[in-house]
């Protein structure tokens, strides 16, 4: 066998299609395919190649220059004749984003290039073994049936790329610049700053103090918000699903009301209900002869109000999910427990709770992750207030994500906001990946 193979490769009649095709493809995408007599495919690839090279030559140098220098000429006033005229300089941020897009497109181009070379090689190999290369029609039908997931995923991935990945990469890069309101383009240029901002956050007292306090509150908040919602929902679910309670679906519908009302509407309403001066809650308190409460104006109370409002908003979701799980627990377990003389409490603690816990664990972790980033409720209910004078642009109820929002959208401290963003991102991804990798949906029985 081996001898036969050696003889074959040694014989002058056999052509090394694969190598020639691959080499031609390296020279220019599509040439290898043409050589393999796949004319239509080859021509299409060649056209694509021409387009790609054209883009690379015209765009890439400028893009790289833009990313590296972030612009060199500043906008300034120049004397033109008798008048001073403003001459526009480079816009660092536009340069950075355009550069990023060009570089990414080039990476995709190179990737496709490599695939084309591989394809030419494999088709050449096929011809060496005496096979016939696919006709264009065959290629199309092969792509339609075996490359279906790739085609289907292309459109969503392009969307995800432009509106999620690219902005995130941009944000990460901004953390390494001095992009703040003080040197806002186009009036000023932005420079690469290395790890300066990261150092500043820990070194400058005002920043580090705010960072530690806000981080601490973010985690305390996430734990409290998740646990109250979960156990509250659990308790209500047990209450509704009890034996002997009538009109179960009526109660259920009543209780999902907070979940059904759009959250931004109900949070804005709650903000008015908790209003310290004119809100109905304080009004009732004073009618009953109590003092008015500083629901949203005292640091401790504002935190309490936030957790309370979040409880109102989230317990229905947990309730709905737990009711769904409760119906899946086999009845005979309870019957067996009854025979053994277990009390109602024992049944809950030993049967219901572990079953629900087991099913809910991944969701609870996801809720926790969601609460770390629960922008809407904090922004709409307290907007981070009351303002804390010791903090750098933050209030007592601000969590990391709302602080980030204030830093970038209101204060223009984009580089600091980006550093916080990177921090949040790292924390969240660790939780999420760990959680998702554990679930069965991911592990796959059949793979």
């Amino acid at each position: 066998m081996q001898q036969l193979a050696m003889e074959r490769s040694g014989s002058p009649n056999t052509k090394r299609y694969s190598r020639t095709a691959a080499l031609l493809s390296v020279l220019a995408m599509g040439l290898g395919q043409l050589y393999n007599r796949q004319y239509m495919k080859g021509l299409l690839m060649l056209a694509f190649y021409g387009f790609g090279i054209y883009t690379a030559v015209t765009r890439l140098p400028h893009a790289l220059w833009g990313i590296v220098t972030l612009g060199e000429t500043e906008t300034k006033l120049r004397k033109v004749g008798k008048l001073y005229k403003q001459v526009m300089g480079d816009h660092s941020i536009f340069l950075l984003i355009e550069g990023l897009i060009t570089v990414f497109i080039m990476i995709v181009f190179v990737w496709l290039y490599v695939i084309a070379v591989k394809d030419a090689y494999h088709t050449g190999k096929l011809r060496e073994e005496g096979g016939k290369p696919n006709t264009f029609r065959q290629t199309m039908s092969y792509v339609a049936s075996y490359r279906f997931p790739h085609i289907v995923l292309t459109i969503p991935m392009i969307g995800v790329f432009f509106f999620t990945v690219m902005p995130i990469v941009f944000m990460i890069l901004v953390a390494f610049t001095n992009f703040t309101r003080e040197n806002m383009p186009p009036a000023h240029l932005i420079d690469w700053h290395g790890f300066e901002t990261f150092r500043d956050i820990f070194r400058i007292k005002a920043w580090s103090h705010t960072f530690y306090s806000v981080t601490l509150w973010t985690f305390v908040w996430a734990v409290l918000a998740t646990l109250t919602g979960y156990f509250g929902g659990f308790a209500v679910a047990l209450l509704v699903q009890q034996k002997g309670i009538r009109f179960k679906s009526f109660w259920r519908t009543l209780f999902i009301l907070p979940f059904a009302i759009p959250m931004f509407v109900s949070t804005l309403i709650l903000r008015n209900i908790f209003n310290g001066q004119f809100g109905p809650l304080n009004q009732y308190l004073s009618l009953l002869g109590f003092d008015k409460m500083p629901w949203l104006t005292d640091p401790m109370w504002a935190k309490f109000t936030l957790v309370l409002a979040n409880f109102w908003l989230t317990f229905p979701v947990s309730m709905l999910m737990i009711i769904g799980i409760l119906t899946t627990i086999p009845k005979d377990m309870y019957e067996a427990a009854d025979i053994d003389g277990a009390s109602a409490f024992q049944k809950i603690a030993l049967i219901t709770f572990p079953s629900v816990m087991h099913a809910m664990a991944p969701l609870v972790i996801m809720q926790f992750v969601g609460n770390i980033n629960n922008f809407n409720i904090v922004y709409l209910l307290t907007n981070g207030k009351p303002v804390n004078g010791d903090f750098q642009f933050a209030g007592d109820t601000d969590i990391l994500i709302t602080w980030l929002f204030k830093l970038s959208m209101e204060q223009g401290q984009y580089n600091f906001a980006s550093v916080i963003g990177i921090f949040i991102f790292i924390v969240l991804s660790v939780f999420a990946i760990w959680n998702v990798r554990r679930t069965k949906a991911f592990k796959e029985e059949d793979a």
Partner: protein, 277 residues
């Protein structure tokens, strides 16, 4: 006390608890509805039930504000992003569920992590991108961004498709059906709960987002309901609380009714991840 008396006592106590929780849940909605019907424009009211009722604030919304226009804008944006977003999400979930290809798991993890990233964290870049594409202050921009973000939440649809037997698909393949035929003629009809859940989520997501819409939509006639309502209450010069309340009622009613009608699908959708845990 006999066992029966004990049970009755506990049940009555349960009903009392349920009633209290019910009041707790309904109160904000009730209060805002009452406020929207009250005469005057102040947040403060002497009595819990208004002494005189008026529909003036509702008509105000349409006379003084462009409420009808906002409604049309919002419906346009939400329906368009719902359709595109749902199709993209389902196809993404389907591709991940039914096919095995190189880099699949890594791509899935990547998308899941990206999904955790709040959209507005990268708003500056998106804003500049839209500016470059000349799409600022257009509804198309918002639709594109919402629809593009939807596939990040493919996990529900993937878990759902995992439960559909693969033999069904294989049989159809053998009979010569193409992938798209299989998807639309065999998989879709089996996935009503999933479609309803995904559509509902993308629809309400687009309907209620205010952060991103506020950034992109600059002129009053382009605003969505969420942006309009948010501006109404946060504008320091506006004191018309009761008009805001009327707006809240008109915005909340359709979504609330939709959610209550679709309860069953919500439970299915929400627990889809849990049951497979």
């Amino acid at each position: 006390m006999t066992r029966k008396a004990k049970t009755t006592l506990w049940l009555s106590f349960s009903y009392v608890l349920l009633a209290i929780i019910g009041v707790f849940c309904v109160y904000p909605a009730l209060w805002v509805t009452m406020s929207s019907l009250r005469v005057g424009d102040a947040l403060y009211s002497d009595t819990i039930i208004p002494s005189a009722l008026t529909l003036e604030h509702y008509t105000n919304l349409f006379d003084k504000y462009l409420f009808a226009g906002w409604y049309v804008n919002t419906l346009k944006i939400s329906v368009a992003s719902m359709i595109i977003g749902t199709v993209l999400t389902l196809l993404t979930g389907y591709a991940f569920s039914m096919f095995r290809f190189a880099g699949r798991k890594n791509l899935m993890s990547l998308l899941l992590v990206l999904g955790l990233f709040p959209g507005f964290m990268s708003m500056i870049a998106i804003y500049i991108l839209l500016n470059q594409m000349n799409l600022l202050n257009t509804h198309l921009a918002i639709i594109i961004v919402y629809a593009a973000g939807a596939p990040l939440f493919f996990l529900f649809s993937k878990s759902y498709f995992d439960t559909i037997p693969k033999s069904l698909v294989e049989a159809a393949r053998i009979d010569g059906a193409g992938h798209l035929t299989i998807f639309f003629r065999i998989i879709m009809p089996l996935s009503t709960p999933l479609i309803v859940f995904t559509s509902l989520m993308t629809f309400t997501g687009a309907f209620t987002d205010f952060i991103f819409a506020k950034l992109v939509l600059r002129t009053p006639e382009k605003k969505t309901l969420a942006v309009g309502l948010f501006d109404m209450i946060t504008d320091p010069f506006s004191t018309e609380f009761t008009t805001f309340a009327a707006g809240c009622v008109l915005v909340a009613v359709p979504i609330t009714v939709l959610f209550i009608l679709m309860q069953r699908f919500l439970v299915d959708g929400l627990t889809a991840g849990a049951e497979k845990g």
